[in-house]
């Protein structure tokens, strides 16, 4: 019998800096598994965001570039346009992608750039210590919304998958979560599918992943999973939003 469980080759053998219970690590593993499954490690270039995943390049064993805050989709565009044979993915948080980098993601998606974006929606700015994100829930407390997000002043949370679905350009847009094993399996399939579309040269592919930030939510890892399930999922509905013909 072969080994039942081992570290993906595309993942480095290093300790991560992520907090206990943070789901960034799970998504890293799923991305690395997809890269292994498709045998594309040698031609993959990842783009790290500015956010807790800024050091992602330490955890993946493939070429990597580090973007400025929000600019990963523009950087991916530059790489993919001049080297269409490479497999390019961005890995971005919700502050990075849905706030400062909103312009870059919308236009890359609308041009149908043939790269893959993994979007970690944890409803908060993790790295800088729990400030409000465009994805923060109404009433959810953040260091810059000490009494909870007031939607009168800051609007409603942005649903990126819903927004990108509306673009007329074909693409693959899905929202998944990593709060329980079943969801994790589905997310793995979605991430693999996203890379497959790229390998086929088909379209832009976007996987939003509802994640946790126990540290800045002020919850234990387990309570964070429950809170995300009860509070985030009713607003951020899971499923495929757009599939290319």
């Amino acid at each position: 019998m072969g080994k039942a469980f081992s570290k993906p080759v595309s993942l480095s053998d290093t300790m991560t800096h992520y907090c206990p219970g943070c789901t960034h690590g799970i998504v890293h593993r799923l991305v690395a598994e997809a890269i292994d499954d498709l045998g594309i490690q040698g031609k993959t270039v990842g783009i790290a965001p500015v956010g807790c995943a800024v050091l992602a390049y330490n955890y993946f064993n493939c070429d990597f570039q580090e973007a400025a805050h929000g600019r990963a989709p523009a950087m991916a565009t530059g790489i993919k346009r001049v080297r269409p044979d490479l497999i390019v993915f961005t890995y971005q948080g919700d502050g990075d992608l849905a706030s400062i980098g909103m312009g870059e993601i919308i236009h890359a998606a609308n041009r149908g750039e043939k790269f893959t974006t993994i979007f970690i929606n944890n409803a908060i700015y993790g790295m800088t210590g729990g400030q409000m994100a465009p994805t923060t829930m109404p009433g959810q407390r953040a260091t810059t919304a000490p009494t909870g997000r007031d939607t009168e002043l800051t609007g409603m949370p942005i649903r990126m998958a819903n927004l990108l679905k509306e673009l007329v350009t074909p693409g693959y847009v899905t929202r998944q979560a990593v709060l329980n094993p079943k969801q994790i399996n589905r997310t793995k399939k979605a991430i693999k599918k996203a890379f497959e579309y790229q390998v086929e040269g088909k379209c832009f592919s976007f996987v939003e992943v509802i994640s946790t930030c126990p540290t800045n939510w002020g919850l234990t890892p387990l309570d964070a999973l429950t809170w995300a399930q009860d509070t985030l999922l009713p607003y951020y509905e899971l499923g495929d939003y757009k599939i290319p013909e």
């Binding site: 490690q41 040698g42 031609k43 993959t44 270039v45 783009i47 790290a48 800024v54 050091l55 390049y57 064993n61 493939c62 070429d63 990597f64 570039q65 580090e66 973007a67 400025a68 600019r71 990963a72 523009a74 950087m75 991916a76 565009t77 530059g78 790489i79 346009r81 001049v82 080297r83 044979d85 490479l86 312009g103 870059e104 236009h107």
Partner: protein, 355 residues
């Protein structure tokens, strides 16, 4: 090769292709949009990549991405656009990848105007973006030099693995002059495999490459800055370019001027010569590294009593002139920056007032 009559902006686009650059990303802005229009037609003919980005912010990172992957790449813009690209320029310098930026300057600050200016000297030579970095800055005085400098810019960017800027102004971009394209210079960066994210398979290597500017460890960050400093020191030793005009005479006034402005100064110098007044011109062709010693030597020539920096700005390069002259002569300044270029008559009047 025969001379052809070309607009500066189009000649810059053609020069990039002749230098082996097949990748161009840009956002339209007057007075340089013709580069994009020219390359939108030309690049597909040579199997190249043309993309109009959604903003100069995004274009800066398209350049960064393509350069990081090890491909020759260029963008062109004008002052407000360069401000937006300055974030990416800082990252490109920090991550040490070669890229070519062209600034066809217009008047500022703010939206300013669309006429020629030299108001971005500080931005180009002293920073623009954050952190300890410099661009290697080349300043052509016409279409021919714009072509040569654009072609050399790729070689320099690769030699120093960093950003290089061509500083033209609206006049150089818009005017037509006969140009001759030098034979294609094409040097592949030999050490590309050591740093470019070209894919491990592509390099036949199992060592992955990282392009980044984050160094959380203070020693590592200091080392990165020391590596940059070493490059800037090497540029100062090896890349300084300048031209002397009428400097073999016993001139009493030395003008320091660059780009379009220096051409007007040359006309004024010729006119004054006929009136028996000798004036010398020192024209920096590299703004960084600045020709400090040549300026010092020309300024401290026995016959020279006055030094004046003449710019299409309110006085920017003059600070480098003062620094170079080290207090041995008083340094004056004259400039206009609304978009009207000072006439030779105006310059003669300014020079005569010094005497």
């Amino acid at each position: 090769m025969a001379k052809v009559l070309m607009k500066g902006n189009e000649a810059i686009g053609e020069a990039a292709i002749r230098a082996g650059c097949k990748n161009y990303f840009a956002y339209p802005i007057t007075p340089q949009s013709e580069v994009a229009e020219y390359l939108a037609k030309r690049l597909p003919e040579v199997g190249g990549v043309f993309l109009q980005g959604e903003s100069e912010v995004a274009v800066g990172y398209m350049i960064f991405g393509a350069a990081g992957a090890g491909e020759r790449v260029m963008t062109t813009s004008s002052s407000p656009g360069i401000s937006l690209m300055s974030e990416a320029i800082s990252y490109i310098a920090g991550a040490q990848v070669p890229a070519v930026f062209v600034n066809i300057m217009r008047g500022g600050p703010g939206l300013g105007g669309i006429l020629p200016s030299q108001g971005d000297y500080f931005q180009a030579t002293k920073g623009g973006g954050h952190g300890d970095y410099h661009l290697l800055v080349l300043a052509p005085d016409g279409v021919q030099e714009a072509v040569e400098m654009t072609m050399n810019a790729f070689t320099l960017a690769e030699k120093y693995r960093g950003p290089v800027m061509i500083m033209g102004d609206g006049l150089i971009g818009q005017m037509m002059e006969p140009v001759e394209f030098p034979d294609t210079l094409k040097t592949e960066p030999s050490n590309k495999d050591d740093w470019a994210t070209s894919g491990m398979d592509h390099r036949k290597s199992d060592k992955r490459n990282l392009v980044k500017s984050l160094f959380l460890d203070p020693t590592e960050l200091n080392n990165n800055n020391l590596a940059l400093k070493a490059k800037y020191d090497q540029m100062k030793r090896e890349e300084v370019l300048y031209e002397g005009y009428n400097t073999d005479t016993d001139y009493t006034v030395l003008i320091v001027s660059y780009g379009t402005m220096s051409r007007v100064c040359k006309t004024a110098i010729d006119m004054m010569k006929e009136q028996g007044i000798e004036v010398g011109l020192l024209r920096p062709k590299t703004l960084f590294p600045f020709p400090e010693k040549p300026v010092f030597d020309a300024a401290t020539k026995e016959s020279c009593k006055h030094v004046i920096s003449i710019e299409m700005s309110m006085g920017q390069m003059v600070e480098d002139v003062e620094r170079s002259v080290k207090g041995r002569r008083e340094v004056d300044f004259y400039g206009e920056c609304g978009g009207d270029i000072p006439t030779p008559e105006k310059i003669i009047q300014v020079i005569k007032a010094l005497l």
